[in-house]
Amino acid sequence: MTATPTCVERYRADPAGTVAWWEAEQANQILNCVAGEASTWLAFTEAEREALATHDHVALFEMGAHPFLTLTLWIAMFERDHSEPLAMQLDYAAKLKHFALPYPDINT
């Protein structure tokens, strides 16, 4: 797997292409196993693929993506586009404001 910053930039610039590459080349890799021992069955659902390919963090939240992971990735990709401190994070939260407790289940 390539270094994280490279993947972040690739996903920011070309979300659909990166998701397709990820699903084809990376998703089945098992950490700490060589490439020849990859899994054979992991795939996104169509809804997951669409949400990831369109940078739709609201849909990902609704589907139970881990909120910390999504936020951390979004900060890496989009904080630079905002001039005020925390502006990106507050906008991110505002787009989720229609969610009340209990939030979508994040169990895997």
Partner: protein, 287 residues
């Protein structure tokens, strides 16, 4: 036997380091008070003159992933690299190397296994800001060997709060019985109410000031039973979606037992409440 000289339970705010490095004319208005409080808190560890630090924290999906997720894990290595790329980028944290205390790690692993805690272990652990933040705040010279203990407060299913308290009690028994002349301090970090990646994140205060006020009272008073009577895995969703990190405070309460903290302080910051507690177990309890 070893001497448990201090128990520190605190929050780990990743932005402290960056904030503390800013020149006064660039620092936010809360910076000076924050630095003062952290320096006062640091003195509570310095005064205990520890030789080794047991550090309780939680990996933030940096090294531990869903293919192989331990509930509780002890590092046993001669060194630990610290911090990851995203922590450099997002928080401005420095990379650092911490020394390990393999003998104490091995002792805790062996003895806990024999006391019904099947702890995972790692001989190559890169610790993240849950461990490095308290080094930066309470031991910035980074001169003491550590034993890192990771808890899963992140990837459900999680152990229940009672289990965190019980692990704290077990660690207390183990440190008290460690055949060594060394002075041990246990430093654990978690959160009060916290929301990350949800609609309530990054407000002017923590997402649930009422929970924070209660939590501070439970910890300061050593009120383990009061805390356990209200806190469950389900209840922790209400104060904020990352509030399960409070269970690391509960582990530390288990270590300290039913005793008031000798030192308690807190600071209301944007998006979270900072909290600082210290107990001196063998110096006479503050009651």
């Amino acid at each position: 036997m070893a001497k448990l000289v201090a128990i520190l339970a605190t929050t780990h705010h990743p932005f402290f380091y960056k904030t503390s490095q800013l020149p006064p004319d660039e620092a936010p208005p809360f910076a000076a008070e924050w630095v003062r409080k952290v320096e006062a808190y640091r003195a509570t560890l310095t005064a205990a003159r520890p030789d080794v630090l047991v550090m309780v924290g939680s990996d933030h999906f940096h090294q531990l992933w869903l293919d192989n997720m331990p509930q509780f894990l002890v590092g046993k290595a001669p060194y630990y690299d610290g911090n990851y790329y995203n922590e450099e980028r997002e928080f401005g944290l420095p990379r650092l190397v911490l020394k390990g205390h393999e003998e104490l790690s091995g002792y805790i692993l062996r003895e806990a296994l024999d006391r019904e805690f099947d702890l995972a272990f790692s001989n190559e652990l890169r610790v993240d800001h849950s461990i490095t933040c308290p080094i930066i705040t309470v031991r910035p010279q980074n001169d003491l060997p550590i034993v890192p203990i990771y808890t899963n407060i992140f990837a459900p299913p999680l152990p229940r709060p009672e289990r965190f308290v019980k692990l704290g009690r077990t660690l207390r028994e183990l440190v008290d019985a460690w055949p060594s002349d060394l002075r041990v301090a246990v430093v654990g970090t978690g959160h009060l109410s916290l929301e990350l990646g949800g609609p309530r994140q990054f407000g002017p205060h923590g997402p649930d000031p009422e929970f924070d006020a209660k939590a501070v009272e439970w910890i300061a008073n050593g009120d383990i039973d009061g805390c356990l009577s209200e806190v469950t895995l389900d209840s922790l969703h209400a104060p904020g979606n990352a509030t399960h990190g409070f269970m690391d405070f509960m582990l530390m309460m288990g270590l300290a037992g039913y005793h008031k903290a000798d030192y308690a302080d807190n600071l209301d910051l944007f998006h979270t409440m900072e909290a600082y507690f210290t107990w001196y177990p063998n110096e006479g309890w503050a009651e």
